[in-house]
């Protein structure tokens, strides 16, 4: 019974795997090219596939050994319809999926299945370009080096292409950096041409043929690995996309040991410090502005920026050269024009911007992209061309009340190939833009209103205390004095009118008009005198005004005196005119009045100033 069950299970697995894998495909030609010139290993494989069986095949399986698969950062398969190899593949990559390794496959394989757009019929063939990108796959050996040593790396691969299908012809080219090659596995048909190592062509290999080979070579390219990169993309509808990138960088190559000598480094930086990197280049989008480069403790002054209409290039230098295992952390930030990245479609807006880091050849272990949308955005949906972990959070920035919605996208093991554009769709009401300016306006408005209220409100606690009452009284006295002041100044202006009428008289000789003016002035002066009575009475009754009262009374008396003098002068002049006396005669007659008037006027002016200052 037990055996029976076991056999049943066995047949079941065979069956299920049959569905997945068994097909009569043949790879007529396989060209592989492995690029080891940087820390990122790129394998480009061109497969010519032919269906030798009778069933229609719609899937092609791509197995990777597990020790490679864990380092796989990026995989893409494209149909190559053109002739040229170098041509970029037409159309988008084909969809692929990780599938359970079928049972008849060797152990420790990870299998990806590529779905073809249309089934491959009997005898049909196609060409498939597969790009696989690996990180952390180059092992430094020795693992620890001194400042003077060069960095040596080990790379292990199979010389035969690992595939579940029989292969007719295959070849492998390994591109190495222009530097020393310590050793490599010599197999049949191995050739070293310059910096290129060639294996093959090998013919008629069975399924899963595996031939290990190892290359030990020098590579002093920067091994910049971002342990974590947080990119914050903040949209402002006032016309700016602000990008802030927080890097946590480490040199991922051979660890440095022993002492670091600045003397050696500065004398021969490319020999004593060959494995270190001192600068990174970031390619920013065109029209990037307000670029900054800083870290937790302040600005870092060693950076350069060039720009043209196609791109902006930022060269940054960390505070110190980064040797193996050394770490650094920094932030770069820049603004981009909104119209280059934000578009609208069916009443929705969407941001279209690249996902990865702008720094060249950077490996990112954890990439977190945060898209900060304006406050009040709704119906948010991101669309990323590859699988990412999504979550939401809220950020509070200037003048936020509810906070800005943030879309958080997390991707592990990112490489420059992930610098594809992604989109975030959302809805946003244009009127919400006005909210923050209005908040500011109202804030200041209320501030001013509050200060006005404070200035006018009576905030004293005790309304009956002596000092408070005295203050009130004093204010009343001040108001009354002001009243007196205005009345007297009005009197003075009426005096001026009288003088003006005299000047008119000398010009036109209109005696009647002059008399009429005098009459009106007389009546208005009388009225003003009446008006003066009540304030003066108040001042006389108030004890607080005792000090100022004499001055006020003096002014009033002087004013009255002046009034009389003026009237006298006026009537004299008018009389003289009626008698048709000469100018000199008039002046002689008026002279005594005039002198008094001038003196009085001066005294009154001085007194008025004095009163005004109280």
């Amino acid at each position: 019974m037990k055996l029976n069950l076991f056999s049943f299970l066995f047949t079941f697995t065979i069956l299920s795997s049959h569905v997945l894998s068994i097909s009569d495909l043949i790879l007529t030609k396989v060209d592989r090219r492995i690029d080891l010139s940087t820390q990122i290993v790129r394998t480009t494989t061109t497969l010519k596939v032919e269906n030798a069986g009778s069933d229609i095949v719609s899937e092609i399986l791509l197995p990777f050994p597990e020790n490679h698969a864990i380092h796989l950062a990026y995989l893409s398969a494209t149909l190559n319809e053109g002739r040229g190899k170098a041509k970029p593949s037409s159309g988008a990559g084909l969809p692929y999926d990780e599938v359970v390794s079928p049972k008849d496959f060797p152990n420790s394989l990870k299998v990806y299945s590529v779905t073809l757009p249309k089934g491959l019929g009997k005898g049909d063939s196609l060409t498939l370009d597969v790009l696989a990108v690996f990180t952390h796959i180059l092992q430094p050996f020795p693992e620890k080096i001194t400042q003077a040593d060069i960095q040596l790396l080990l790379f292990q691969e199979t010389a035969h292409y690992l595939t579940p299908y029989p292969v007719k012809v295959q070849s492998l080219v390994v591109k190495l950096p222009d530097a020393r090659i310590e050793s490599y596995t010599k197999l049949e048909k191995t050739k070293l041409q310059g910096s290129e190592l060639k294996y093959g062509p090998y013919e008629n290999l069975p399924r899963f043929s595996y031939l290990p080979m190892v290359i030990h070579f020098e590579n002093n390219q920067p091994f910049a690995v971002a342990k974590e990169l947080v990119r914050e993309i903040e949209i402002s509808h006032w016309g700016n996309v602000q990008i802030t990138e927080h890097y946590n960088l480490v040199h991922g190559g051979a660890q440095s040991k022993g002492e670091f000598s600045r003397l050696d480094y500065q004398a021969r930086p490319y020999v004593r410090g060959a494995s270190a990197f001192r600068r990174l280049v970031a390619k920013l989008p065109p029209r990037a502005h307000s670029v900054y480069y800083r870290d937790e403790i302040g600005n870092i002054s060693t950076s350069n920026l060039w720009g043209d209409s196609k791109k902006t290039e930022l060269e940054i230098e960390p505070r110190y050269p980064i040797f193996g295992g050394w770490k650094t952390a920094f932030t770069i930030g820049y603004g981009l024009p909104l119209q280059d990245f934000l578009f609208g479609i069916d009443g929705k807006r969407f941001l279209n911007i690249s996902f990865g880091s702008p720094i060249n050849e950077l490996v990112i272990d954890t990439l977190i992209v945060k898209v900060v949308l304006p406050e009040g955005s709704k119906d948010i949906s991101p669309s990323v061309p590859f699988p990412v972990k999504q979550s939401h959070e809220t950020k509070f920035s200037h003048l936020d009340i509810a906070g800005r919605p943030v879309v958080v996208l997390e991707k592990n093991n990112a490489v420059p190939e992930h610098n594809e554009h992604f989109q975030v769709y959302y809805k946003f009401n244009r009127l919400s833009m006005l909210r923050e300016p209005l908040m500011l306006i109202f804030g200041f408005f209320f501030l001013f209103v509050a200060s006005i209220v404070y200035m006018h409100a009576d905030l004293s606690i005790s309304k009956t205390s002596a000092s408070y009452l005295a203050k009130i009284q004093w204010e009343e006295v001040q108001a009354t004095i002001r009243q007196v002041h205005t009345i007297i100044s009005r009197c003075l202006t009426t005096h001026d009118k009288l003088e003006a009428s005299l000047r008119d008289l000398s010009r036109t000789g209109d005696i009647q008009g002059c008399k009429a003016t005098r009459k009106s002035v007389d009546s208005s002066l009388k009225e003003l005198t009446k008006e003066l009575k009540s304030p003066v009475a108040f001042l006389q009754s108030s004890p607080q005004a005792a000090q100022i009262l004499p001055k006020v009374e003096e002014v009033i008396a002087k004013e009255r005196d002046l009034q009389e003098r003026l009237m006298a002068k006026h009537s004299t002049v008018v009389d003289c005119y009626e008698k048709k006396l000469g100018g000199r005669e008039i002046e002689n007659r008026v002279a005594s009045h005039q002198q008094k008037i001038t003196a009085l006027r001066q005294e009154i002016d001085d007194l008025m100033d004095l009163i005004d200052e109280i």
Binding site: E259, N299, Y320
Partner: protein, 718 residues
């Protein structure tokens, strides 16, 4: 249609009305005009005081300066992140390893609380600023506030004109700017504000006799105590002032009357509660108590008997208390810094750690001139005016000015305390002079105007004749003097701006120099080294350096240090000084006992940066030798001369500091035409070019060699 035709006609008339009425409505009364001008001037002064301190941000960046501000920044950061009670109970294990430091009990929290409160308020108002920006701008903000307080103080002491001049003078006075530029996030930044506020409120309380003012003054004093150790100045100045008033006894009647007694009493009690025992206080309390008893008893004989009993009682009780307190250590004797205030030579002979600090040196005349400029000459003039119009307030200001001037002469950094007084008294001089002169000038202008206004030629002639006869010399002289005063004041403004931009705006973390072609060269070596420490050493690594760099290493490098700028434990510092001045193997034992992992030295031999560790080395020897007699200063000198070249003392050439500073320096050519190993800071070729390190290894050296970090090797296997 009717509407459309009528509208075009109405606007012109309306506009005309408006035009006619505009001058009337705009024509303000003299008083309102004066108020408007005063408020506008104060507003401008407020802004000026702020922006003149922003040179450092423009020249460099928005960063924290120097040494102590880094500690303040670190604690503020901790306060905002962990809250007040955590902050208050903070035991900092990152400094003074292995002793640690109780932060809450050993700092003046006023500054941190202020910055944290500003930060909280800004965030409440929805301004998402970084705490660093708040800290950087705290000092300029308080400088602006100080200017406003100076205005009110000046108004209280003299008149509003003097107030405005005082505000303007203090807004740009270099003596104050030196401690309050943007980024200079130090206690003094807020303390000067608190100091002046306390004094202002105190004078206000004396003038009005109001209880609320004296209460406000007590709170101002409380704030001052929480912010800066300089509060002892207030607590001694105020009773001294009261004593002077008691002796003078003129114009002091209202202090004696009942209600003012209460007002003063509140202030005294609050002060007495805060301070613990300044002798003058006790005298004052006794005086007031006796006064009160005299009132109660009313009989002279009885009073004298009472006096005899109480005096003998009080003296004996006081003597016993003092003896017990001293013996039990409850009353701590005066600190060395305090002694050195009374006797400037004290520190030099007894406490090298105080004498070693540059800001504790006696002040040179040049720095008085540099910090005060014309105020130095206006100060005596202001004193003259104060004595001419002696009142309670002016007596206070005069006493403040004279005592603080003495202290400013004793210690460079106390120029700061004298600055507000000097500004106030100078402002009185300027204001009084200008006012008198303008009165002379204006009087004539007015009569001239009124004369011409009359119109008739006869009166015009007569009035003119009168004026021309009345001292033409006086008018011209006044004009000339006014011009001179304005010339001096504008020179002052130019000097202040120049000093601020050239001398006081350097963060001293980032050094700037002129290159060969006149371009600006920046040496950012400190931050390079600290950031290297932060990133590339184990998080629990202990770094040994001279105490100057302790705060910076903990704040920027985020690593544990052995000693820092707090200098509370002389023995610990002496241990470090001993390690630095010993041979490498002896130093290794000391470093092992302190668990040191890295040693950091500052070296200026490549760049010519003179304030490096070699130049500070003699202080290390002195401080080390003060505790450990094995270290003897003469061992490092040759005929009393300190040198690093071939003629240097053998102990000097082989001590740890020399080795760490000059390790592999002998192979480097620093200047064209000079032999390798030419030290540019001291201008000599070094004496020991073949330095081998046995127990340490170079871990990092910055680009310009200013900071060198060495790793202490683990002990060899036996």
């Amino acid at each position: 249609m009717a509407v459309t035709t009528s509208t075009p006609t109405s606007p012109p008339s309306m506009a005309q009305d408006l035009l006619n009425s505009l001058p009337k409505t705009l024509k303000l009364k003299t008083k309102q005009q004066e108020l408007l001008i005063r408020v506008a001037t104060l507003g401008l002064i407020y802004i000026l005081a702020f922006i003149t301190r922003l040179f450092s941000v423009l020249r460099y960046e928005s960063m924290i300066h120097e040494f102590d501000p880094y500690f303040n920044y670190r604690t503020t950061l901790y306060l905002t992140e962990h809250g007040f009670s955590e902050f208050w109970n903070w035991f900092d294990s990152d400094s003074w390893y292995p002793l640690g430091r109780i932060i809450g009990g050993t700092l003046y929290p006023g500054l941190m609380l202020t910055a944290a409160a500003l930060y909280k308020i800004l965030h409440f108002l929805r301004f998402a600023v970084h705490i660093r920006e708040v800290c950087v701008l705290t000092a300029p903000f308080f400088a602006s506030n100080t200017a406003i307080v100076a205005y009110f103080f000046g108004k209280e002491v003299w008149d509003s004109g003097a107030g405005i001049v005082a505000a303007a003078l203090i807004a740009i006075c270099p003596g104050y700017i030196s401690r309050s530029v943007a980024g200079s996030y130090d206690n003094e930044g807020v303390a000067i504000f608190a100091l002046l506020l306390t004094f202002y409120l105190f004078v206000k309380a004396v003038n009005t006799g109001s209880l609320s003012w004296s209460l406000a003054s007590a709170f101002g004093y409380f704030y001052m105590v929480s912010a800066w150790g300089g509060y002892v100045f207030i607590i001694n100045l105020v009773p001294l002032y009261v004593l002077v008033l008691l002796i003078r006894f003129v114009g002091f009647q209202h202090v004696q009357s009942g209600e003012h007694m209460a007002a003063m009493g509140v202030f005294f009690l609050l002060q007495a509660a805060v301070s613990c025992g300044s002798d003058i206080w006790i005298v004052l309390q006794v005086f007031f108590f006796l006064d009160w008893v005299k009132h109660l008893l009313g009989d002279v004989k009885l009073f004298q008997a009472f006096l005899r009993i109480t005096v003998t009682g009080a003296v004996s009780v006081g003597a016993i208390a003092l003896g017990v307190g001293m013996a039990s250590g409850y009353i701590s004797p005066w600190t060395g810094r305090f002694y050195s205030l009374l006797d400037p030579t004290y520190a030099k002979d007894h406490i090298p750690i105080i004498a070693s600090v540059s800001e504790h040196q006696p002040t040179a005349w040049s720095s008085f001139m540099f910090d005060f400029h014309i105020l130095l000459f206006l100060f005596p003039a202001g004193l003259y005016f104060c004595f001419k119009r002696l009142s309670d307030a002016t007596i206070f200001v005069v006493m403040y000015g004279l005592t603080s001037m003495y202290f400013a002469g004793v210690m460079v950094r106390l120029i700061l305390v004298a600055t507000p007084a000097v500004c106030l008294i100078s402002a009185i001089a300027v204001s009084a002079t200008v006012k008198n002169l303008t009165r002379v000038v204006r009087a004539k202008v007015q009569t001239l105007q009124s004369g011409s206004g009359k119109g008739t030629s006869a009166s015009k002639g007569s009035s003119k004749g009168v004026i021309d006869n009345s001292q033409p010399f006086q008018k011209n002289g006044a004009m000339l003097l006014l011009l001179g005063a304005f010339y001096l004041l504008s020179r002052y403004a130019i000097h202040c701006t120049w000093v601020t931009s050239e001398a006081y705006s350097s963060p001293s973390i980032v050094l700037a120099a002129r290159g060969a072609h006149g371009q600006r060269v920046i040496f950012d070596d400190y931050r390079e080294a600290y950031f290297w420490l932060r990133q590339n050493t184990p998080p629990d690594a202990k770094v040994m350096s001279w105490w100057d760099y302790g705060y910076q290493i903990t704040a920027m490098g985020n690593r544990t240090v052995i000693v820092d700028n707090n200098t509370w434990n002389n023995t610990h510092i002496a241990t470090v000084g001993r390690a630095m001045s010993s041979y490498e193997d002896e130093a290794y034992d000391i470093m092992k006992s302190l668990d040191v992992d890295y040693v950091l030295v500052v070296f200026g031999g490549v760049t010519g940066y003179s304030s490096d560790d070699i130049n500070k080395f003699l202080w290390m020897v002195r401080i080390g030798g003060g505790v450990f007699p094995v270290i003897k200063e003469p061992d490092y000198l040759v005929n009393g001369e300190y040198r690093v070249d071939k003629g240097a003392a053998p102990k000097m050439l082989n001590c740890l500091m020399y080795k760490l500073s000059y390790y592999r320096f002998g192979e480097l050519t620093t200047e064209y035409g000079k032999p390798p190993g030419y030290d540019r800071a001291r201008g000599v070729e070094i004496g020991n070019k073949d330095i081998k390190l046995e127990y340490l290894e170079e871990a990092f050296t910055t680009q310009n060699w200013i900071v060198r970090i060495y790793k202490v090797k683990p002990p060899k296997n036996r």
